[in-house]
């Protein structure tokens, strides 16, 4: 029996450690530990509620917009103005959020995940004239001439062995890595047209949005969006297919808990409240076994803390959530709480969103998923593993970009984007939303005009959760357990699985593993 420890697990957002106990070449037990705690929920207490969208944006610099919107919806709810947001305000929020999805998905595939599949060194043999590749080739030559492999940083060192693309495919992928840097930058510039800047957009706040709508901004937005749609259709999606065809075993490697949950995202009409609002990607749950839709009852979410370092009671709904640290709780091994829905483990993210909407016969989603499935010779039931997460993320980028092209034309130049409201002294609110990485909930209690309590349950809290009160491992843990590791020195399988979830550890802010304690560490035979 051996233990593989990967710390830090890089190319994700934040600080993550993965430990896996391997027996006879198969992972018997896996545990994920986040390594950073900042306590932002504690910092929020006592502040002006209107500051929450800006402060919670700082939970994550990759997906600040998701937190900003979730927090804003939470305040809209508390202020009783959810159905009063002007049409322009609603659309601007969707466009700013959509641009963040595109940025995040492209960044994830090319700059966080791809180096596990792509061999950059193959560019050394490149004979063409593509400037980006010539640049990389020169970069490699310098390192070879000096015989200093560290000069290949940040692309070296790396795990060695399982790179399967042809030399030509590798070179193309590296060129696309560079093109994707430009695409993701463009997506931020797209957002900034209406959000002021990225990361840490402004504009979105309770009551609507602050940026005015003009014809020139609409035109500017359309043009930049067109470039991104071209990139997604002609570069991103084909590249995911290329990787998928070269690594078909990763369809099953990394299959998770098989249950999926979505809160829904992109409000299409402000009538109604919370989950009752029509959303482009709707809320719900499903499972890979049944592919049957079930509606979501947010009251059934509870957070277990048996194996989390909290002394607060287990099984609380997040609106009543407490954050009482207990670093030396004997049975705890993580600072992630374990959110569960109806007591079961659920995976969140693009895979969950698309499956939930596929089984609801969302025609746009079905047609995109079906066409990708026919290209790959697969069925939706094949999507539960590592590749399924990459494939659905790419499809989703396309779906959202295509819808944004319609939404931007629904904007009404010079019409209001913002509605005024009264600040209540005492109120409660909930903001259920979806970030690029999955279901995101913010809950606020306002007391005497200040924040009395603030709780966030973020996507990575769902996906990276530890074992719950019933000893059920979290989704990432389940996805790693049972995996066959070909080479323990180069555990590609583990990093590919973990990265397919696109974890965001700064988001999962409850996370912490105290130092110098053996509590909860593995007992290795």
């Amino acid at each position: 029996m051996a233990k593989i420890v990967i710390d830090p697990l890089t190319r994700i957002e934040g600080h993550l450690k993965i430990e896996a106990v391997v027996e006879d070449g198969v992972v018997k037990e896996a545990r994920s530990s986040g390594m950073l705690f900042r306590g932002l929920e504690i910092i929020l207490k006592g502040r002006d509620p209107r500051d929450a969208p800006q402060i919670t944006s700082r939970i994550c610099g990759v997906c600040p917009t998701s937190h900003c919107v979730a927090s804003t919806l939470c305040l809209d709810d508390a202020f009783g103005i959810t159905d009063k947001i002007p049409k322009n305000g609603r659309i601007l929020r969707n466009l700013i959020q959509g641009a963040n999805y595109i940025q995040s998905h492209i960044l994830h595939f090319y700059h966080l995940a791809a180096l596990d599949f792509v061999d950059v060194t193959k560019v050394a043999d490149y004979a063409g004239k593509e400037p980006a590749l010539v640049s990389v080739k020169n970069f490699i030559s310098r390192a070879l001439n000096e015989n200093d492999m560290y000069m290949l940083a940040p692309f070296y060192p790396r795990y060695e062995g399982d790179y399967r693309l042809s030399a030509e495919e590798n070179q193309m992928a590296v060129a696309h890595y560079v093109a994707a840097l430009e695409a993701r930058r463009t997506a931020h510039e797209l957002s900034a047209i209406f959000s002021g800047l990225m990361p840490h957009q402004k504009s979105i706040l309770p009551g609507g949005a602050t940026e005015n709508v003009t014809v020139s901004k609409i035109a500017n937005f359309m043009w930049q969006l067109e470039q991104l749609r071209y990139f997604i259709d002609n570069v991103y999606i084909p590249d995911v297919i290329t990787v998928g065809k070269a690594y078909p075993d990763y369809l099953s490697i990394g299959s998770g808990c098989g249950r999926y949950l979505s809160y829904g995202v992109f409000v299409l009409d402000v009538a109604g409240a919370g989950l009752a609002q029509p959303r482009f990607l709707a809320s719900g749950t499903t499972s890979i076994d049944t592919l049957q839709y079930a509606s979501l009852d947010a009251a059934q979410i509870a957070e277990d803390v048996l194996h989390s370092r909290y002394s607060s009671p287990s099984g609380l709904h997040p609106s009543e959530g407490q954050t009482e640290p207990a670093p030396f709780k004997p049975e705890a091994y993580s600072w992630v709480k374990s959110p569960r829905y109806k007591g079961d483990v659920y995976e969140v993210g693009p895979l969950a969103r698309l499956l939930v909407n596929y089984v609801q016969q969302n025609s746009v989603v079905c047609s995109a998923v079906d066409s990708m499935m026919s290209e790959l010779g697969l069925a939706p039931a094949d999507l539960a593993g590592t590749l399924g997460r990459h494939v659905t993320r790419a499809i989703e980028a396309k779906l959202i970009a295509d819808e944004m092209a319609k939404w931007v034309l629904e904007l009404e130049p010079d019409a209001p984007t913002y509605v005024e409201y009264e600040l209540p002294s005492n109120a409660k609110g909930a903001g259920l939303w979806e970030g690029p990485r999955g279901a995101l909930g913010h809950w606020i209690t306002i007391k005497d005009g200040k924040i009395g309590n603030y709780q966030c349950v973020v996507p990575t809290t769902w996906n990276a959760s530890p074992r719950d009160d019933k000893e059920q491992p979290g989704p990432i843990e389940q996805a790693i357990e049972g995996t066959k590791i070909k080479d323990e020195e180069n555990p590609f399988e583990i990093v590919r699985i973990v990265r397919s979830f696109d974890p965001c550890l700064a988001c999962a802010i409850h996370l912490l593993t105290p130092k110098r304690t053996e509590l909860g560490r593995f007992k290795v035979c």
Binding site: P8, E13, M35, L36, R50, V136, A153, G196, P199, K515
Partner: protein
């Protein structure tokens, strides 16, 4: 055209790196000022209590683009070798830590870039990166070890420069800035503060470029340790909406495209060149989208810059006269007097007073 060192500094300091990236390459004589062979500057990018926003912001750099920064000569004859960056690097686990350790052994041979605040409570257990003999290593330990050996430290973002949001009241994890950790540990390595939440990519790349061309001494710092090239002015003083302030035309609610002072804009108490540089390739900026500046580049962000939607100078929020005092100490009495006079006159003229009393009644 002959380019002196002074011109270089002016170029790199006063304007965008676009100048360096594009124009300088064609300037005759430029190359002769630099070493003939390629100089590698190893960089270790240490991320602590951060949101990764400053790393993501750096990816938005334009002229040079980020791929130029990674693989090309960012300044002719100079290549930045990004040895360790948790979000970008291919390596993971032990392989990643080995690069960091090998690079750090070369005393004075690398630049440390720090992103995020450093937890000091309970020995800094709130952030760990890598492990040694089965024990986690805190970010604080990394900072002390790497910081002592580095040629210089560039603290990027308001968390690393001043503590920022993780250090906001009640500072649950005892977060400190790089400089405060260094002071406590008597580490004398020079620290340059590139504040901002996030830091602007031009501020980061421009500062690095200035160092590559002119050495550390070429970077002139203000009393908060920030390069004056980017943080010399108050946002308020160079704001395109300044005219509205001067004539008393204030936005009464968010989304109104006038002076946002009455809505809580912290431009009068915040130093940065956002109004002229703007963000995301110049597309827009905070005030540009009718949202008040929240003062994210200042040492007292966020506690004395909030509530974000309350006027500077109201309860708990830093007032402009503090900044006037700062300027008095920093850049000379005449300027300070000028600003004080200006603010005084504005208030005395009744335009602001009227606004304040109106809000007081509501």
């Amino acid at each position: 055209m002959e380019l002196t060192r002074r011109d270089f500094l002016k170029l790199s300091a006063g304007s965008v790196v676009a100048v360096l990236g594009a124009r300088l390459f064609s300037v005759p004589g430029f190359n002769s000022l630099l070493a003939a062979s390629l100089v590698e500057t190893p960089i270790i990018w240490l991320q602590s209590g951060a949101c990764t926003g400053c790393s993501v912001s750096l990816l938005n750099t334009v002229n040079p683009y980020i791929n130029n920064v990674l693989v090309d000569e960012v300044i002719p004859g100079n290549h930045l070798s990004l040895r360790f960056h948790p979000n970008v690097m291919a390596a993971a686990g032990e392989g990643a830590m080995k690069v960091m350790n090998d690079t750090a052994q070369n005393k004075g041979g690398f630049v440390l870039i720090a992103e995020g605040a450093f937890s000091t409570k309970d020995g800094g257990v709130y952030c760990e990166i890598g492990e040694e003999n089965g024990q986690g290593i805190t970010a604080l330990e990394h900072l002390i070890r790497l910081g002592s050996n580095a040629k210089a430290v560039i603290a990027v973002g308001t968390c690393a420069t001043y503590g920022g949001i993780p250090a906001a009241k009640p500072n649950p994890t005892g977060c400190k800035s790089v400089q405060d950790v260094f002071s406590a540990e008597s580490i004398t390595t020079p620290v340059i503060n590139i504040s901002g939440c996030p830091a602007h990519p031009d501020w980061i790349v421009g500062t690095v470029a200035t160092i590559l061309i002119g050495g550390l001494g070429a970077v002139e710092l203000d009393r908060e340790g920030r390069p004056t090239a980017f943080y010399r002015e108050l946002i308020h003083d160079i704001c395109p909406r300044r005219q509205y302030y001067d004539v008393g035309k204030f936005a009464n609610k968010p989304s109104e495209p006038y002076c946002l002072y009455a809505l809580g804009c912290k431009g009068p108490v915040t130093h940065a060149d956002c109004p002229i540089r703007r963000w995301n390739n110049g597309v827009n900026w905070c005030i540009g989208c009718n949202h008040p500046c929240i003062g994210c580049t200042e040492p007292d962000f966020p506690d004395k810059k909030s509530p974000f939607f309350q006027k500077a100078g109201s309860t708990g929020v830093a007032a402009a006269n503090r900044i006037v005092e700062d300027i008095g100490l920093g850049v000379g009495v005449a300027t300070a007097a000028g600003i004080a006079t200006h603010l005084g006159m504005t208030a005395a003229s009744g335009r602001l007073k009227k606004k304040q009393s109106k809000e007081g009644q509501s």
